[in-house]
Structures are given as C-alpha cells and as structure tokens.
C-alpha cells in the first residue's frame, strides 16, 4: 500500500501543474478559440506546404498527421513539429493575445438577441472549416460526410436516446430520402440517359435543391408512419424488429425497382451539395433538433421513455409525442440521405443495409444518448477514427469495435450522455468565470 501511495501524489502534482497551465485558457470565449483556429488554418494555407516539405513530408498532413503516422511512423517527429508550429503554438498565442478583446466583443454581441451572436460565431466557424478543407479534396469530402453523419446521428438519437426506443429503421429513412431527392433532381434538372431530358432548365437546379431535399425528408417522414403507428401499442423489442423489417423492406424494394437502377444503384445527381450547402443544413438540423429536445413538447419524449403511464396521467399526449419523434427523426434522416446522395453523386441500396445500421448505432451510442453534444462528438469522433485507422485496412474493423465495446463497458450510455446543450452557455463571454471561481 505504501509503495503505491506515491503514485497518486505524483499524479496529483501533475494534475495541479496541468490545471495551472490551463487556467488562462479557461477564460477564453468561443470567439477567441475560433479566431485562433482561423489564424492557424490561414497559416497552413500560406506556409503549410513549404513547411511540410522542409520537415521531410511529401505534402500537408491531411488529417492532422494521424494517417501519415500509421503509414510512416518514422515521420512522427516531423508531424509533431508540424502540428506545434501550425496549430498548437499559433492558436495558443492568438488565443492569449486576443483573450480580453475577444471577450469584449463577445460581451458586446451578447447584448443583442442571441441569434446575432450565434450567426456571428457560425460564420466564423464556417470560415475556419472552409479554409481548412479547401487545401485538398479529401478534406472537403471528409468534412461533408462528417456533417451528414452529424445530422444522421442526431436524428437517430431523437428516437433511440430521447425516446428510448431501439429503432433500427434509420438506414431505411436515409435511403428513402436519398432516392427521392436523387430521382426528382435527375428527372427535373439533369439531361440523363436513363431518365430522359431535364423537365426544367438545369440552371434552376440550385434553387430547387433545398425544396427537393425537404421533399425527400417529407417522404421519409411519411414512410416512418409504418414504424410510428405500431409504436402506439408496442414498445421495446417488438418495435425494434418492426423497424428492422422496415429497413430490409426498403432495401429490397429499391433492389427490385429496376427503373431506378435496382441493385446497381442510381447515379447522375447534380453536383449541388457543396461544402457551404451541407454546412447550412447541418446547422439548421442541430438548431431545430436542439430546440425541440429542450422544449416541453420535446421533453415529453423523455417522460414517455421513463414512464409512459405517468406521462399520460400528466396530460402528455403520448401518441402525438411518439408520432412527432419518429416523423421528425425520419425527416432529418431523409435530408441527410438526400445530401449524402448528392455528395457521392451515386447511391445504391447496398449502402443502406446492416452495415449502415451498425455504423449509425455506433455513432449514437459512442457519443452518448439523450445528448446533442454527444451526437456531434459521436459522429465526428467515429468518422475521424475511421479515417485515421484507414491505413490499418481490415484491422480497422477490429479496433473500432473493440473501442466501442470498451466505451459501452465503462460508460454504458455513451461518452457525453444526458446533457442539455445550451448555446447561450457556449457563446457566453468567459471573463466572468474568474469571479465565480
């Protein structure tokens, strides 16, 4: 016992040192962090390539060097140096230099309605992502897919986390949204060999794209009635099977619709899902879903989950609540599907099967149930991990499941579960915290 006692004290000393170093950064507002990141990504745009060459790398490390690290471990020192020079040190310097001014600006913005502050931050965030991503096509694609994953994960969390059902139907909703949007877009705005000439001038495509996406979402929501109506009487396990059957039905239905390519898939979607488009949809998804789950109407889902009889006795219309949850989730899954189809510009039923289901479920449960932040973290973390481990090829699909099992064992409801996401808290200037602490 005595031998081990020195370890905790050493660890405590280290922790104390760490938190002391971290102290100044606790007063940095989100605005400050965004400014720092912007400087870092701008720096990378201008000197990233030459610095990478100077450090002996062939190109700018696309994913913060994680992929390169596994491929060429001997480059590890260069990668660390690169990350320090481009990201950590510039961000640290900028953040500390602008701390007070950023807090002042944030405080100033805070006097206006919240949406102005939010918009300001969102534009800045987009700038960071855009400057970071345009460095190469791989980053653009990855960023788009991550954002779509965020929408998908959030929408599944509404049913599986907030309402506590184990729904397996999400790949089906994604497929319905993807195919609906693809078919309408190709039919109306693309001169296609299979679907014939465009019915409307293709130049109008970008303007109708949002409407078509919404239409895809609405059709997906309608298809969700097949799962939502049985949910009035059945809960839990049987509903899980119903939703699973729904997923298989949609998949094999598409496989049998030869008009739309059947199992071969459907292609020719116009190139409309650009980075800003996907970004805007992601922000709208996060915003509406977070609004919903924080309202009393949305929290009714939690009441239905935790005790349906009590919810009913407290005037909660449980049927409406279930219906809303399923349809709303399916709507956003449909939007995500439509975006996915237009990012890949090709869809096939094979991508909406069991594998997709495992992936979405993994993202939801990895990130955390009943939590918007959890879903965002889950989607980004999972995709990031998946890209990072790509050089390991097959072994990747051993490591990721093992990690997920560990998460389930030690945090059975996910990393950040049962947390309210309050944008006001996030955007708040941080200089007051000093007085509170």
């Amino acid at each position: 016992m005595e031998a081990t006692s020195s370890v905790p004290t050493k660890r405590n000393a280290f922790n104390a040192w760490l938190s002391k170093q971290w102290m100044p950064y606790r007063q940095v507002s989100l605005l400050g962090w965004l400014l720092g990141s912007l400087v870092a990504v701008l720096l990378e745009t201008f000197i990233g390539t030459s610095l990478a060459w100077a450090l002996g790398m062939s190109d700018v490390p696309a994913l913060f060097g994680f992929v390169v690290m596994l491929k060429q471990p001997e480059l590890l020192p260069s990668i660390i140096l690169y990350l320090l020079l481009i990201y950590f040190i510039p961000i640290a310097i900028v953040v500390r230099l602008t701390k007070s001014i950023a807090n002042k600006i944030a405080g100033l913005l805070f006097r206006y309605p919240l949406w102005i502050t939010a918009l300001f931050h969102i534009v800045l965030l987009y700038a960071v992502i855009d400057v970071w991503a345009v460095m190469n096509d791989y980053r653009v694609l990855l960023a788009k897919l991550m954002m779509i994953a965020i929408i998908t994960t959030l929408s599944l969390n509404v049913v599986n986390g907030y309402m506590g059902e184990f729904s397996c139907s999400h790949p089906g909703f994604l497929a319905v949204g993807a195919y609906t949007a693809s078919i309408i877009m190709v039919l109306f705005f693309v001169n296609d060999k299979v679907m014939g000439p465009a019915l409307l001038p293709p130049a109008l495509g970008p303007f109708f794209f949002p409407i078509v996406l919404i239409l895809g979402g609405v059709v997906a929501a309608f298809s969700a009635l097949i799962v939502a109506i049985p949910s009035f009487h059945t809960r839990g396990d049987y509903l899980a099977i119903i939703s699973l059957a729904f997923m298989f039905i949609i998949k094999s239905l598409i496989e049998n619709l030869q008009v739309f390519g059947g199992a071969r898939g459907f292609m020719g979607q116009p190139n409309l899902a650009s980075l800003p488009v996907v970004f805007v949809w992601t922000i709208i998804a996060i915003w509406t879903i977070n609004n919903f789950v924080r309202s009393t109407l949305g929290k009714a889902m939690n009441a239905v989950r935790d005790d349906e009889t009590a919810a009913d006795a407290m005037t909660v219309n449980t049927r409406n609540t279930k219906m809303t949850a399923f349809l709303f989730a399916a709507f956003w899954a449909g939007i995500a599907g439509g975006l996915f189809a237009h990012v890949m510009r090709y869809v096939n039923p094979g991508s909406f099967g069991i594998k997709k289901l495992a992936e979405v479920l993994a993202m939801v449960y990895f990130g955390g149930l009943n939590s918007v932040v959890g879903s965002i973290v889950g989607a980004i973390g999972f995709n990031f991990l998946s890209e990072m481990l790509r050089p390991l090829e097959i072994l990747k699909w051993v490591i990721i499941p093992v990690l997920l099992i560990l998460v389930m064992i030690f945090r059975p409801t996910g990393l950040i579960a049962f947390k309210d996401f309050d944008p006001e808290e996030l955007l708040r200037p941080k200089n007051q915290t000093e007085e509170e602490v």
């Binding site: 184990f166 809960r235 094999s252 935790d306 149930l369 064992i409």
Partner: protein, 307 residues
Amino acid sequence: MGYFLQNIVNALQWGSFYALVAIGYSMVYGVLMLFNFAHGDVFMVGAYIGFFTASGLMALAAMGSIAIPGWLILILTLIIAMFLNSFVGMAVERIGYRPLRDAPRASAAITGLMIGIILETGNLALLGAQRRAFPPLIPPTVYKVGGVYITNQKIVIIVVALALTLALHQFVQHTKWGMAMRAMAYDFLVVPLMGIPINTIAALTFALGSALAAAAGVLYGVAYPVLGPYMGIIIGWKAFVAAILGGRGSILGAASAGFLLGFIEIFVTMIFPSTMRDFIAYTIILLILTFLPNGFFGEPYSAKLRL
C-alpha cells in the same frame, strides 16, 4: 402437386437452418432479455470450425489410409464443432455481455453488434477473402418418392435439426439446469436469492445456443458447401427475426417460426422472382408483428428498454 411437395421439402431444409440459429437467439433473449446480435456470426464461426474439423478428419483418414465412412466424419464433425463453438459462445458472453449486465439493454445490443463485426473481420484477416469449400462428406443420393426428389443430405439436415430442437426442449423442460434457465427467464431478480448461479446459467445459455448454431453451420456447409466470412449476416438476421416472432424465450416457438420463415421464403420464390424474396418475407413479418404484437407462442409481455 409434385412441384408443391418438392418445395415443402426444400422449405423444411431451408427452415432447419433458421430454426437452429433462431433457438440460440431465443434462449439468450428469454433468459437474459438481451439481443445477442453476434449470434449470426457465431453461426459463421461454427461453420468454419466444422470446415476445419471435417477437412482435418479427412486428411487424417487419408494419412492413415483408413477408410472412415463419410457419415461417421459428419457425426464427429457435428459433435466437435458443437463442443468447440460452445466455448466461442461462452467467450462472447464473458466479453460482451457479462460486464454489461446492469447496463441499459441497448448498450449490450451494441456490444453484440460489435463482437459480430470483430468475428467477421477477424475471420477475414486470419483466413483471407477467398471462400472455402466445405468437403463433401456424404455423397448425394437422390431418392424419388411419389414425384418428389429427396436427397439423403436433406433428410440428414431435417432430421438432425428436429432432433436437436426436441432434445434441447427436453433439456430445458426436465433438467435442473433447464429449470434454472426458465426461472431466470421468469424473474431475473429473484433467481440469485434462490441460490441459482446467474453467471453459470448465462454461460450455459450461450453455450447451448452456440452449439446449435455450430450444428446449423455444419449442416449449412453440407447443403451449400461455400463458406464466407459474411455468411452469418444472411442467416443470422432472419433467424433473429424468427426468434422474436416465435415469442420470448420459447424454444419450440423459435424453431416453428424458423421453419415458417423457411416456408415463406421458399414459397415466395415459387411465385415471384427470387429477388422479391426479402421484400415479401419481411413485409409478411411486419404485418404479423403489427397485428400480432406478441409473436405466435410467447406470453403477452412488453418490455421497455432499460435506460
């Protein structure tokens, strides 16, 4: 008429695989109230164990130049594969389910799903992507009975499947261990108070289910001698659905639902193009579950996922 009867035989064979795999799902579901999503892949592992056992036994026979008859190798393969695969099942329980006994049930479902993926990719990594051909153990002989062609393979498959189902049913109904399993299915919380070792029973449940899955895997190899790492997905998910359709934890229910699913699929392909098989089969399942929300044989119950 002959065509019709022929399809009944085919459906019985096809349903045998579903039935044997479904029982494994159903037992775990009944006793522990958990979805064992790894079970389809345990079936796959069973088939591979069978493949290696059969190949090994044949090589051994060839080395010693002893003429061991095919049926004896099949029986030995069945027994060895069932025995070894039960350890696979117990390992799955130990790693993926025991640590999560008090966690939400959905979390355990996720670990099951993940163990399934590990088994698939583990197989792929160890054995490579090429498919394996199951050695022909019993040379097919065709009997013609009243216009129906029956191979000896089909007879073996159907008979073994039925025999194992009934044997397991007897075990669960009449032995001390079976009684403990039923008690656990009835009330999870009271069981430890009665001095029944939960961990042992849980392991036993997984072991028995996996043994049956191995039997299904070997029989599958006899009928369709091509094995691949993803073969568990095709049979597994449908067997899972059949297990739930059969009612909670009912062995005969799960087996019947497995055979029913076999019949649905074979007869769908009799009338419609075979690509419509999944579509129609799942639509029927959806309708059954929507209008018979307790399955066929299970007692009415509705469980909420513990969160």
